[in-house]
Amino acid sequence: MLFPTVEYALFFLAVLAIAWSLYRFPLYHKSFLLLASYVFYGFWNWSYVPLLFAISLFSGLVAQRIQQSTDKKIRKRWLMGGAAACLATLGYYKYTGFLLLNLLALWGHLGRPPRIPLYSPLLPLGVSFFVFHAISLLMDCYRGKVKEPVQLGDALLYVAFFPQLIAGPILRASRFLPQLAKPRDPHRVRVNRAFLLIVGGLFKKVVISNMLATRLVEPVFAVPQSYGGLDTLLAVYGYAAQIYCDFSGYTDIAMGCALLLGYRFPRNFNAPYTSTSPQEFWRRWHISLSTWLRDYLYFPLGGSRKGAARTALNLMITMLLGGLWHGAAWTFVAWGGLHGALLVIHRFWSRIAWPPLVRWRTTTAWKWTARLLLFHAVCAGWVFFRASSFEIAFSVFTRLGAAGPATLAATPVLIVLFLGLAGQFAPARWRNGLELEMGRWPALARGAALAVTLTTIEVLGPTGVAPFIYFQF
């Protein structure tokens, strides 16, 4: 079930009404949300609901074991065993094909590969996300960040909660379980913020992302040889805007739906293309993933505590694995490697303490220069991320220098491209101000405004809605 569909709207309205009618009975309320989450997931494929249930139950049981033990070794054993089982599940579903392909390639170098039929399993929707949720539960229990004893029902709901189930944001058990432990407050719902998040997310996804995808990005990345430099450059910028609008649009809708249900999700994007350094970019892009990788991978590797060389290595390992998390292909690894290299280079660059350079770094001119440089470095990474092979990625880079007319630069495309990129520079106070302003309107007027906005989005949107990009991860 996709968010920008009537089916989801009907499903969500029904869930919202029933969930709030049960808020006085937390057990029923949470049980109902859990059931609704399985129904939501089952809309795609019922056969994977048992997998989701099994992962959630397993992580809940292991988390309880971790909490119950006072022996650090035993706790660590449970953590390592639990995390390994979760990662093995992810590895089996996501990386079997990739592994087989590379093993066969290696075998081909040594001798004749076997001629037996090989298959990789079908990828369950959102498996990368719910496995990461399960690991977060184990890690947070191990680190003592989950103060209260884990309830199995809460663990199941934490992993499967439908607004974040398919494409995040990746919730932390230590922040979400306490919300489940408290009853919902029917007098304190951020309705206006939720409405703004939902319509903003829908606009980003349905209007901006879809148009950029179909009319600019897909044609160029399918056949780069057919387009000149200007079209190719627009397509690269277009993909930067598309992936931001697609993914942040999804998480905005997820956050809005959760808010209406009385739950708070962490912010997942914060105007990433306004960043002036790679570090800042990763504090603004897919925040829930970057902090997950930082806390559960980079820090355990030693973080920046073991010298410059080890820090650089840790950064590269973290980003390479982060790239692989996005997809089982070497192009994703290259994307992660590029970002790792950017982080390492920036670390050394920022340590140069030559006074004129230090002074220059504080100027507005440098900030804009850095912003532009970083944006283009990020765009270079997106080429690897989007291209289905290195051949196509390099073809895109090559075509950037080719002559040729801009055949794809239609006015609607340029408008949405501008909105997708420049929209990030809109001050946050505008949205906060609008939220407060809406608070003065009668409820029916807010509803009418919501309806008019949704209709506008529907009319501006394409005839079909493509799945969200991050569903595949």
Partner: protein, 400 residues
């Protein structure tokens, strides 16, 4: 003091107001949505409810506002619907499903044409979408399709001219195949590809996407000499004709679908275009693969009746020795390839790359002209078993 939180009473009041207003503004859109649903309980409830509501709200004239907005956007090039764009550029042009699927049909046409006693397609109902009783529509269905097929040779491209090739179909063309073909002809002065495909479409649900409107709109002024078709992966579903639900694979369904395939083939081959109708490749999930076999049988039956068209089986290239699904292949040089997409349905770029050399050699034959282009790597494959090749198929293959 200003507050950012509200009570759930206010929330539900706002949502109720929003829902009521949405119904007023989007009544036409909801009818269109209901018709787009797959057959099932939800559609059974949603279609009459949405239509009733739309009829009740029609006097308010708000549906017209939405339609005008859509047309205005199409005029400034905002729409992604070729048929709608064609309509606004020529006022007497074709109607579009984007506006509203039911509005496109002459009022009462569906009701006037009842289903025939044998479940045969009703011409009136099908004419609504442009489906006609074209050649091949009535041919008896074959029991199976040939494993190895051949392409009838094309003459070489005239010097100084380009052969225009339309790539048509759904995601079976859009994913992998079209991009690989176009990349390989980039810089080839003899061939020019025209994109007439769209993912998520097919021939089973013309109320969702009507190829009889969309193909001419996508083609525009182009006059392709050759059309390569890959379509049908979304068609393993039931549909409604004359208010009657036809389950996938039923006799009635097969007759209607056969007629639609015949109409589509007649449309794409109009103007003398040669057509290669690519069969659907073997699929990963067995139940789906069985349905695909049904679709292939119907398409083969129709295509084999046309002197301009040839049905081409990709299974010898992308299937295993028995023509069944396989995900990986290892080339003679030891390089492994994943030839299918992760969904077990589409071809990967590399999988499509197993087909394109044959197609390109056929499209742009090197002089001197060869008598026949062998389309399957016969030497590397065992011959198809006699049981898998019905008599008519053998004849067809021999003719190629």
């Amino acid at each position: 003091m200003q507050t950012t939180t509200q009570s759930i009473r206010q929330m539900f009041l706002a949502l109720a107001g929003g829902a009521a207003m949405t119904l007023l503004l989007e009544a036409g859109g909801l009818v269109s949505w209901a018709h787009h649903l797959e057959l099932g309980a939800l559609r059974t409830v949603a279609v009459p409810a949405a239509e009733r509501m739309e009829r009740a709200l029609r006097p308010l004239g708000l549906a017209g506002v939405r339609q005008q907005a859509l047309e205005s956007l199409a005029r400034v090039g905002w729409s992604d619907d070729p048929a709608l764009l064609a309509m606004v550029s020529t006022p007497s042009g074709m109607p579009s499903k984007t506006v509203c699927a039911t509005d496109a049909a002459p009022q009462g046409l569906t009701l006037a044409a009842g289903p025939s006693s044998k479940g045969a397609p009703s011409l009136l109902s099908e004419q609504r979408y442009g489906f006609l009783n074209a050649a091949g529509a009535q041919a008896p269905l074959v029991a199976g399709v040939p494993h190895v097929t051949a392409l009838t040779p094309l003459p070489p491209v005239d010097p100084g001219k380009q052969r225009v090739v339309a790539l048509a179909g759904d995601s079976m063309m859009a994913v992998g195949l079209s991009a690989t073909l176009m990349r390989q002809v980039a810089g080839n002065g003899h061939l020019r590809m025209v994109k007439t495909f769209r993912s998520g479409t097919g021939l089973a649900r013309p109320e969702v996407f009507n190829w009889m409107d969309e193909y001419p709109a996508m083609l525009g002024a182009e006059k392709p000499e050759v059309v390569i078709v890959a379509i049908g992966a979304n068609d393993a579903q039931g549909f409604v004709v004359d208010g009657k639900v036809l389950a996938f694979g039923s006799e009635g369904w097969e007759k209607v679908y056969q007629q639609r395939v015949a109409s589509y083939l007649a449309m794409v081959s109009a103007g003398g275009a040669r057509v290669v109708w690519m069969g659907l490749p073997p699929m990963r999930i067995p139940t789906y693969d069985e349905k695909i076999a049904t679709l292939n049988r119907i398409c083969y039956t129709v295509v084999s009746q046309s002197p301009q068209a040839v049905w081409w089986n990709p299974a010898p290239f992308v299937g295993d020795e028995s023509g069944h699904y396989r995900e990986f292949v290892t080339l003679a040089n030891g390089r492994p390839m994943r030839i299918r997409a992760a969904d077990g349905i589409h071809l990967s770029d590399e999988g499509a790359g197993l087909l394109t050399p044959v197609l390109l050699k056929w499209l742009d034959p090197p002089p001197p002209v060869v008598a026949s282009v062998q389309t399957a790597p016969v030497a590397s494959l065992p011959p198809p078993t006699p049981a898998a090749r019905p008599k008519r198929h053998t004849k067809r293959a021999a003719r190629g």
